[in-house]
């Protein structure tokens, strides 16, 4: 067990208020960071976890101010230091890495220069030895060919490598404490796993004290030594990681843990007549060059995909960003021109219909988008938004029938009927996604394309929305094409799974088959990176 001597940073009873309204954002947060240990602060958006780290570093935005508490590094209270001294604490003693590496790096300087810049500020290294040190750091954070990468610009590196550069920059001045604010949220799962592994290794080898802020329980399970759950500005539960996952005390913690996939229960597969059939579907975008804009090549976003979705069935299309899964969804909706292959819906070819010819099928195929905030016109009431499809597809309802129908739909998605008079900005993400579901259901479709419908939502809300989708499937027998990058939601939801990589379907089969006995190496890599409740 660690002793108090290991404690690198101690946050004591930290309270933060909103300057304008006096609303309390943090209600007395205390925690200790120990050398060689990762302390995970978990919570959903708005729970105050990022505010905790920013307050500790005295980097709060002007609208917030600290009312009480202390942050001690060694014996020194950071709140007593003058701002000039504080600047040397940031970087030399405490380093931070953020979610979005691309926006934290300067696009017009090479990554080597940027890391060297940090070193110059805090050390006396110059010239060749400075360069040597940077290359050494690059090697340490696992960047291939570190010497050549010195003169790369940020956009020439992948997202994972950019995050590694950020970590190298944070480590440049040998800090004792590292604050990582959602360091892997913007990354694909396979890369996420690699970056987390790096952070784990560095914690051990450099005896860092790490504060890891995340909303992802899988990340916590695989990385952290100690966990604290934040809820509405309080730490409601704190425990060692084993203890926490096997024996959570709070109801809320249980809900967070339940969001992790259970790889033992699957949806049973019933053989059904296919509702939608894709046959070698291709979507190619031309690349044009020169004055005359001649087509020189094609981007093969979707390159020969064949699959079938049965009535009342859920087909999960899994893949990382850029694999072409969203484009395929848009192609089925006829929002993207299909360059080759056939799309059949109930036996009718719908792949290359004109706008007008597509109209009868619009009623039958609907869509739910990833970002509920951008998928509703901010200037229309919820009622108008839901009614839009009914009106434009000419369901021929009278005003009172329409109103009744909107009410029923809101009931179905467990929202109050009065909400139809409100505007989208008055709702939370989860509520908005329910409205989006109601909008899709309004025209009684037989197939709904769900394009990452839960990835913008917090974990606890995510399971509610997924539950609602399943309930509606049982009630109306609607089929889903579920596009996602998150394998963890697949087992409870999908009957069939297809794995996409670079525009091709590399593997497909029943959910059980894919998740328990994957054949393709890419599927195996994806599965390995999924955090699980029981790693053994």
């Amino acid at each position: 067990m660690s002793t108090s001597a290991d404690i690198r940073m101690r946050i004591e009873n930290l309270k933060v208020r909103l300057s304008e309204t006096g609303e309390e954002i943090l209600k007395g947060v205390s925690l200790e960071l120990r050398a060689g240990k990762i302390f995970a602060l978990v919570g959903e958006s708005g729970s105050g976890k990022s505010v905790t780290s920013l307050a500790a570093m005295r980097l709060l935005p002007e609208a917030l101010h600290i009312t009480e508490g202390a942050v001690k590094v060694g014996e020194q209270d950071l709140f007593d230091l003058p701002e000039a001294r504080m600047q040397s604490v940031r970087g030399r003693q405490v380093a931070m890495i953020f979610q979005n590496a691309m926006s934290a790096l300067n696009p017009v300087q090479t990554v080597g220069q940027q890391v060297a810049e940090t070193l110059k500020l805090h050390t006396s290294l110059r010239g060749d030895s400075l360069r040597q040190r940077v290359v050494q750091l690059f090697a340490e954070v696992g960047i291939p060919e570190p010497d050549a990468r010195f003169s790369f610009y940020p956009h020439q590196l992948s997202g994972g490598q950019q995050q590694r550069i950020m970590i190298a920059m944070a480590l440049a001045c040998e800090p004792d404490i590292l604050i990582a604010d959602e360091p892997t949220t913007a990354l694909d799962v396979t890369i996420q796993e690699q970056v987390l592994k790096l952070i784990r290794e560095l914690t051990r080898s450099r005896q860092l004290a790490v504060l890891l802020i995340t909303h992802d329980m899988g990340v916590v399970r695989n990385t952290a030594d100690e966990v604290a759950v934040m809820y509405q500005g309080n730490i409601i539960e704190r425990a060692g990681v084993e203890e926490f996952f096997h024996n959570p005390r709070e109801e809320y913690s249980k809900r967070l843990i339940d969001a992790l996939p259970d790889l033992t229960h699957f949806q049973s597969v019933a053989v059904e007549e296919p509702l939608l059939q894709l046959d070698e579907v291709k979507v190619h975008f031309p690349i044009r060059k020169g004055v005359l804009q001649r087509v020189v090549d094609y981007t093969r976003a979707v390159d020969g995909v064949s699959l079938a979705i049965g009535r009342g069935e859920t087909y999960a299309l899994v893949g990382e960003s850029g694999s072409g899964k969203s484009t395929l969804g848009r192609a089925i909706l006829n929002l993207e021109t299909v360059s080759g292959g056939n799309i059949r819906f109930k036996g009718d070819a719908i792949g290359s219909l004109a706008r007008r010819e597509m109209l009868p099928y619009r009623k039958l195929i609907q869509v739910i988008f990833q970002n509920p905030f951008s998928s509703m016109n901010p200037r229309m009431t919820v009622g108008d938004i839901i009614a839009e499809g009914m009106v434009s597809l000419g369901l021929g309802l009278t005003a009172s029938e329409q109103e009744e129908r909107i009410g029923q739909l809101l009931d179905k998605v467990q929202l109050r009927r009065e909400y139809s008079q409100r505007y989208p900005h008055e709702f939370s993400g989860g509520q908005l996604q329910r409205i989006a579901i109601a909008r899709a259901l309004a025209v009684e479709p037989e197939l709904i394309i769900c394009d990452e419908p839960t990835s913008a939502l917090d974990v606890s809300i995510r399971s509610e929305v997924l539950g609602l989708l399943q309930e509606l499937q049982r009630e109306f027998g609607v089929s889903y094409l579920f596009i996602t990058h998150d394998l963890s939601i697949v087992p409870s939801l999908a009957h069939h799974v297809g794995v996409m990589q670079a525009g091709k379907l590399v593997e497909q089969g029943s959910a059980e088959q894919i998740l328990t006995a994957p054949q393709h190496p890419y599927t195996q890599a994806l599965l390995n990176s999924v955090p699980r409740l029981d790693p053994e």
């Binding site: 935005p61 002007e62 609208a63 917030l64 848009r330 909706l333 929002l335 706008r355 597509m358 109209l359 619009r362 009623k363 195929i365 609907q366 869509v367 988008f369 990833q370 970002n371 509920p372 951008s374 998928s375 509703m376 016109n377 901010p378 200037r379 229309m380 938004i385 839009e388 499809g389 434009s392 597809l393 505007y423 900005h425 989006a436 909008r439 025209v443």
Partner: protein, 461 residues
């Protein structure tokens, strides 16, 4: 027949500006239902600065509207001529002229300094003995009421005190009435009332004092400079609004269709605005104005009074400014439309089979309105300044129509003589500065409230 017989005269620009006012009122009345818009305007008006600058702008607009009600006075029948026909004055008068109480009719011979009693230049005179002499002549309309021993400045102070008392009394009534109706309002009306009081006092003082002195002196032709500056308000305000009115439909139609339909429509629109913006604006405007001037000169029968001719040129200038300045707004709207048409709600509308017109009208247009609004207020002050520049190089407003640009143009050479004639420039500058400053400050507030980037930043903090 009464001596006050008048014949209303509606100039083209008068009709346009009143139409614009009606359209704007209807537009804002309809926007009233949109809670987001209401909230944002609420934000603009809940700041004192917003209230004050808006009041200043409204005063300018009010003056411009009063100055846009034109009529011609009936001339008294020549003596001995018994005719039932009424002849009307060729000089066009506006309601504002009447309210200024003849300020524009008190001509001197030539330059005179502010509050001067004598002319600025010597002229030949004949004294009581019949000798020719050259001296500074007394002004016809200034200081005539003074006895020979009186101090001019004591008199000015005395008159100012009287005017101020009247002004305060008037302001008390007007502000008091507003106070009665707006008591529970959450907006800082007192800021507006402060401005209103200042404006009313100033106006009463100016009109009252101008009976006795030329507050801002007179120009070369002997016209009161204060009067000219006030007449410049209509030109400035109308030019700003009418040009924007011409520009908006072009920019919005082209921008939205380029961003929404993409493909060859986009190519054509882009080609148009890149071509247009690579021609130097001033040259294009100068050439167009000169062409139109030739047209006016060749067709004198179209215009019954001189004012109509000047008005035609003015409207032409508005159109030309509008037609040449749509490219930047068009570019902004195209970019925003490109962005919006990729958003979920437009995609969802496509998936529902909503028609193009409906998508454009319900989803795209309402969501680019903030850009249009911001550009409208920002461009307004730029256009007022553009008028001054154009008049300066001689292709602006017709010289017979008062405008700040013409005043500045007339004053430039006089600045270099010793002693300098500074008051024409000061008058034009003061009135223009106040308008442009108010418009700029107001547009900053509007932009803060409506720019999604600034609001996003605030809500996240």
């Amino acid at each position: 027949m009464g001596a006050l017989e008048i014949k209303p005269l509606v100039l083209w620009s008068d009709a346009l500006i009143y139409m614009l006012v009606v359209v704007l009122v209807v537009f804002f009345y309809r926007l009233r239902n949109d809670p987001q818009t209401r909230e944002r305007w609420g934000q603009v008006f809940s700041s004192r600065l917003g209230m004050m600058t808006f009041t200043v702008i409204m005063v300018y607009v009010g003056v411009a509207l009063l100055d846009s009600l034109h009529f011609r006075k009936a001339l008294p029948n020549p003596e001995g001529l018994e005719s039932t026909e009424v002849f009307y004055d060729n000089k066009v008068t506006s309601v504002l002229d009447v309210m200024l109480d003849g300020m524009g009719d008190r001509f001197e011979r030539t330059y005179s300094a502010p509050f001067a009693l004598k002319s600025f230049e010597k002229s030949n005179m004949v004294d009581a003995q019949g000798n020719m002499l050259r001296d500074y002549a007394f002004l016809t309309h200034a200081g005539g009421h003074l006895a020979s021993g009186d101090n001019k400045w004591t008199d000015v102070l005395r008159l100012s005190a009287i005017a101020l008392a009247w002004g305060l009394a008037g302001a008390a009534i007007i502000v008091g009435l507003q106070w009665f109706f707006l008591r529970g309002s959450i907006y800082p009306w007192y800021a507006s009332w402060a401005v209103q009081t200042a404006v009313i006092c100033f106006a009463v003082w100016l009109v009252y004092i101008s009976h006795f002195y030329h507050v801002l002196g007179t120009d070369q032709g002997g016209t009161d400079v204060a009067f000219q500056s006030i007449k410049g308000i209509r030109t400035g305000v109308l030019l700003g609004t009418l040009s924007t009115l011409v520009m908006l439909p072009i920019a919005v139609t082209l921008g939205v269709s380029a961003g929404y339909f993409k493909g060859w429509v986009d190519d054509v629109v882009q080609y148009l605005y890149t071509t247009l913006s690579s021609i130097p604006g001033i040259l294009l405007i100068a050439a167009s104005v000169l062409l139109f001037q030739v047209y006016i000169d060749l067709n004198p029968d179209f215009f019954s009074v001189g004012m109509e001719k000047a008005d035609a040129r003015f409207i032409a200038l508005c159109f030309i400014l509008g037609l040449t300045s749509w490219s930047s707004l068009c570019r902004l709207i195209r970019a925003e439309t490109l962005k919006i048409s990729q958003l979920g709600y437009v995609q969802a509308a496509h998936a529902f089979g909503v028609s193009h017109t409906r998508i454009l009208g319900r989803h795209i247009l309402p969501n680019v309105v903030h850009i249009i609004l911001i550009t409208f207020v920002l461009d307004f002050s730029a256009l007022v300044l553009a008028e001054a520049v154009l008049s300066y190089i001689g292709v602006g407003i017709d010289p017979s129509m008062g405008s700040w640009g013409n005043m500045i143009n007339g004053a430039r050479s006089e600045l270099s003589r010793e002693p300098a004639i500074w008051w024409t420039l000061t008058g034009a500058f003061f009135f223009m500065f106040l308008l442009v400053l108010a418009a700029n400050l107001f547009s900053d507030l509007v932009r803060d409230a409506f720019d999604p980037r600034s609001t996003a930043g605030r809500s996240e903090a």
